[in-house]
């Protein structure tokens, strides 16, 4: 039994934060320079009372609007900003989306590699006949983790969700995977407080970065340069291993969609790997880095604008917090 990506839809919250607004608030950089370096002009932000569960609901409602929801027999949600510690947000979504009750639903906690891992799980469940029609949702509200005076992280990250239906298929269109983990990098992208190792601390001290940004241990911390080092180490190797596992070369791939971390990072990786720009997706201009949703957002956009067409082989590669990474070739 094979599997394929049947449909993808996305949801971005209504509120928008532009570079101009950030420049006005912080008064220490030029919007045009940031756009040209990072490739981000604006990002969407969840409202105060809007959760990752809400974004997930909206994205799923869109993709299910022309799909028979009674066919969905598995719901998987990837998020690092769940509605509750418990119950599982996917269980709440099963009810809100009026899906069948005789289905499996669960969350998994991964960031930018999450979509590729979700595809791996969906494929595995379909291959073992545990499910036939999987709804995979990626949804994140990182903005709620970010300190209001942390310009660097506010610039990079945007909130959003994507809902993908993976169906059983006569032939396999989700090909071989390479998945990887290196937890030694855990402190370079982390929200230290709020779990049980370090509970949320209302009087946490403020730290200041070399750029003058402020954060506490209750907030998201990212060591950008160290994360960049990780991507240089892991991404080209993962792509190479993935091609090898699929018995393909770079030239056999019609299009490459990497996690849209920012324009600078993915541009460097593209150049380092010798991928032609016309075969490489690079667009996070209006959304920023939406964590686990950047790949499905890009895939959906590439389908809509004709960059990929049925029959194309597309290499997807996600990488980030953990560290965690994954790559796969899919046939459109």
């Amino acid at each position: 039994m094979g599997s394929k990506i049947k449909a993808i839809d996305i949801y971005l919250p209504e509120m928008v934060l532009t570079n101009e607004q950030l420049a006005k608030e912080f008064g220490r950089w030029e919007p045009d320079k940031i756009e040209s370096k990072l490739g981000i002009r604006q990002r969407h932000l969840a409202a105060k009372d809007e959760t990752a569960g809400d974004l997930a609901f909206n994205a799923a409602s869109k993709v299910l609007s022309d799909y028979d929801r009674s066919k969905i027999d598995m719901l998987i949600l990837c998020t690092q900003s769940p509605d509750y510690f418990l119950p599982t947000t996917a269980c709440v979504l099963q009810d809100r989306l009026k899906l069948r009750t005789d289905i499996c639903a669960y969350d998994f906690n991964l960031g930018c590699s999450g979509f590729v891992y979700g595809l791996a799980m969906a494929k595995s469940f379909i291959k073992t006949s545990i499910a036939s029609n999987v709804l995979l949702i990626t949804s994140e509200t990182y903005s709620k983790h970010i300190h209001p005076e942390d310009l660097a992280e506010k610039t990079i990250f945007g909130d959003g969700a994507a809902a993908t239906i993976i169906e059983s298929s006569g032939r396999e269109q989700i090909l071989e995977f390479v998945l990887g983990t290196d937890g030694s990098g855990r402190n370079n992208l982390i929200v230290p407080n709020g779990g049980f190792r370090n509970p949320y601390d209302p009087s946490a001290i403020e730290h200041k970065t070399e750029s003058g940004d402020i954060y506490t241990d209750n907030n998201l911390f990212m060591d950008g340069p160290e994360i960049f080092n990780f991507t240089i180490d892991s991404v080209p190797a993962a792509v190479e291993q993935c091609l090898k596992k699929n018995c393909m070369s770079l030239n056999d791939i019609d299009y490459f969609i990497f996690h849209q971390a920012n324009k600078y990072i993915i541009g460097y990786l593209r150049k380092k790997m010798g991928i032609p720009p016309e075969k490489f997706y690079a667009d996070m201009l209006l959304t920023g880095n939406t964590v686990s949703s950047t790949i499905p957002i890009a895939y959906s956009e590439a389908l809509n604008n004709g960059s990929i067409v049925p029959g194309n082989k597309v290499l997807l590669c996600g990488f980030g917090v953990g560290y965690s990474w994954g790559a796969v070739v899919v046939e459109v």
Binding site: K37, A152, S211, G224, P225, F228, N229, Y268, K272
Partner: protein, 79 residues
């Protein structure tokens, strides 16, 4: 690559707005020396010297001269 060329090329790569830096220019005195600049230094050294510098090493650097020492003076031509 000569050391002075290194200073010039790296400054251009990092898109520092001011020019005329020399081996003793303190990184922290450069306008725009932020985490993006650190990433640019990582990329430049990876590309030109196939060498990995950690963020911690970069944050401890004072000037262009100390970066050259970190990469290894033997990798540069005499001026």
């Amino acid at each position: 690559m000569k050391k002075n060329e290194f200073v010039e090329q790296l400054s251009e790569y990092c898109e520092f707005e001011n020019k005329g830096f020399n081996l003793d220019t303190q990184f922290k005195s450069i306008e725009g020396y932020d985490s993006l600049a650190l990433m640019s230094i990582i990329a430049f050294v990876d590309e030109k010297f196939s060498m990995k510098l950690t963020a911690l090493q970069l944050r401890e650097l004072k000037d262009f001269k100390s970066l050259i020492s970190l990469i290894g003076s033997d990798k540069f031509e005499n001026d």
